[in-house]
């Protein structure tokens, strides 16, 4: 009886260590899995392709990498500066909300157009849509 108890006790002690390592392995597996999905998402956050631009910057055909939230306008302090006289200093904001891109006009003089239609309130932007700010046109690509 006493010997069975001692054997059982050592079994539990070894099991504790064993389980600790099993947990580590499982946790590491979960980490690598989530890293894979996260880095895939990182690559595809989105880009804007410059379709039309009267000034030297940005060049036509240039690909602008997007962050989660991007302000656009004539001011150099914007995330995406657009040095065009027809653009307002702080013109519009393009940002991700719940995995979708949304554009909002920040009270600009000449307005923001999505596929040629002037927006009144924050508007969802889909893949391939054209955004026009002043005389600059940009196409969203995920």
């Amino acid at each position: 009886m006493e010997i069975t108890f001692a054997v059982l006790l050592w079994g539990v002690r070894i099991a504790f260590l064993f389980l600790l390592y099993l947990f580590l392995i499982r946790a590491f597996g979960a980490l690598t899995r989530s890293m894979r999905t996260e880095s895939a998402a990182e690559r595809s956050l989105g880009t804007l392709i410059v379709e039309r631009s009267p000034a030297r910057t940005p060049r036509v055909g240039e690909r602008l990498a997007l962050r989660a939230s991007n302000t656009m306008g004539r001011d150099a302090g914007n995330d995406i500066p657009l040095p065009d006289e027809a653009a307002s200093a702080r013109h519009a904001k393009l940002e991700v909300r719940d995995g979708e891109w949304w554009i909002e006009d920040l009270g600009s003089t000449n307005g923001t157009l999505v596929n040629g239609v002037r927006i009144e309130r924050p508007e969802r932007v889909r893949n391939g849509d054209e955004i026009a700010i002043g005389r600059v046109a940009l196409r969203l690509e995920r």
């Binding site: 002690r13 260590l17 946790a27 998402a41 956050l45 989660a68 979708e100």
Partner: protein, 429 residues
């Protein structure tokens, strides 16, 4: 039902946490009583229920992103409970109560700040509150001195270390401040290779740090001042990428250490017991704790004496200062490495959350919080193993102590919030 499946990895990992908590508790109980009663299982089962409820809470709230931190924090807390049961069983119920409070603080931190960016807006409030809390143990009625360090505040029956909460406030303040002025601070004028930081912008940070240092010297808490300097330099480096600032910090540590050594008796004792704990005049006196700690480490060997089977009780105050040695004695090198690997994984996960976060404030916040866990582990385990002088910081989640447990669970909640925001902006699950 589908709501619950969204955090599947987290739930699966919690199954393993359950098994670890139960085997650990059974091993300790069976060794002590040379027999086993089912009532012994009440504590680990209660803890697991809390952890699963937290998981369900996160799932029903629709929190996205990280699924690793909750089980990691849970397994470390479970190990902590097993060790309190082993080393100071009279404190076990108290520690379980603190765990419940910590779970409440976790839920509160997930629920209350609607938008984490609002934390940054109140940065001066955090700074003032932090300084007030830091000074509070020096006040006459509520302040308490324990083991020569005046770092406790007692209100009624509850005692807590305000310093524990202050470190999170410091990270929020530094992160918010550095986000606002990082452009200026990151591009200093240079004289040769030496960057001259623009003083007016750095001044508030240095003042904060100086206040903290002075207070900490008067409260005689070495670990806290080291951690403080660490947070300060880590965030400065994360925000600016300027290695020279860290170099200045290293010089500050050396100079400060030298001055402290020659002016304060308690610093001198710490250094002496580190350098020569076995000396004739120290080994049964100031060096007794570290000497017994080293014997425990050595006694552990490769696979340990078996949970409950060692003699870690010989180390004075083992449950709060030397839990690492107790764990290493009873589970051996294998267990000690597993424990350190858990911290490594935790910190790695936290830093990944920091790298991916969408705004500089959230990046600095997550980076600073992960740094706290990394640095605290390094400083206390290093002290326990006699690699550096011993300081009184706690081993995160594992060491006995309520204030530390509560703040660490709030820290986890903040990291999960940052990860949730990142997942939402990037559109990942």
């Amino acid at each position: 039902m589908t709501v619950l499946l969204r955090r599947g990895d987290e739930l699966r990992l919690l199954v393993w946490v359950t098994l670890i908590a139960i085997t650990g508790s059974v091993a300790v109980a069976a060794t002590e009583a040379a027999g086993f009663a089912y009532s012994q299982l009440a504590i680990p089962v209660a803890f697991i229920c809390v952890a699963v409820l937290l998981h369900v809470f996160l799932a029903t709230r629709g929190i996205r992103g990280d699924q690793l931190l909750l089980p990691m924090a849970a397994v470390l807390t479970a190990i902590g409970l097993v060790l309190v049961q082993r080393l100071a069983s009279s404190l076990l119920l108290q520690q379980l109560t603190w765990t419940l409070i910590a779970a409440g603080a976790f839920v509160g931190t997930i629920l209350i700040p609607k938008d984490l960016t609002t934390l940054a807006r109140f940065k001066w409030t955090w700074a003032l509150l932090g300084v007030a809390l830091l000074i509070s143990p020096l006040l006459p009625v509520i302040g308490k001195t324990v083991n020569g360090a005046r770092i406790w505040v007692g209100v009624g029956p509850a005692n807590f270390e305000p310093w524990e909460a202050v470190k999170i406030m410091m990270v929020i303040f530094f992160a918010a401040y550095l986000e606002e002025y990082r452009e200026v601070i990151a591009r200093p004028r240079r004289i040769g290779p030496i960057p001259i930081p623009p003083a007016p912008y750095l001044l508030p940070i240095i003042v904060m740090w100086a206040i903290a240092m002075v207070v900490v010297i008067f409260e005689r808490d070495l670990g806290a001042s080291l951690l403080f300097l660490g947070i300060f330099l880590a965030l400065l480096y994360l925000a600016t990428g300027e290695a020279f600032y860290t170099l200045i910090g290293a010089v500050l540590v050396v100079v400060g250490g030298f001055v402290l050594y020659h002016t304060f008796g308690h610093v001198q004792v710490r250094v002496d017991t580190w350098l020569r704990p076995f000396a004739e005049d120290l080994r049964f006196d100031a060096g007794y704790q570290i000497v017994q700690g080293l014997f425990a480490l050595g006694n552990g060997g490769l696979f340990g004496a078996g949970l409950g089977n060692g003699m870690p009780d010989r180390i004075p105050v083992v449950w709060s200062d030397f839990v690492f040695n107790a764990f290493a004695e009873e589970t051996g090198f294998a267990g000690a490495i597993a424990l350190l690997a858990l911290y490594l994984l935790f910190v790695y996960r936290g830093m990944l959350i920091a790298v991916r976060a969408p705004t500089p404030f959230l990046q600095l916040l997550a980076g600073g919080l992960s740094f706290i866990v990394a640095f605290q582990t390094l400083v206390i385990v290093g002290g326990n193993a006699r690699l550096i002088p011993l300081t009184g910081v706690t081993l995160p989640f594992v060491a006995y102590g309520g204030s530390s447990l509560v703040t660490n669970w709030m820290l986890v909640a903040l990291l999960i919030r940052v990860s949730d925001i990142t997942a939402r902006t990037r559109g990942t699950p």
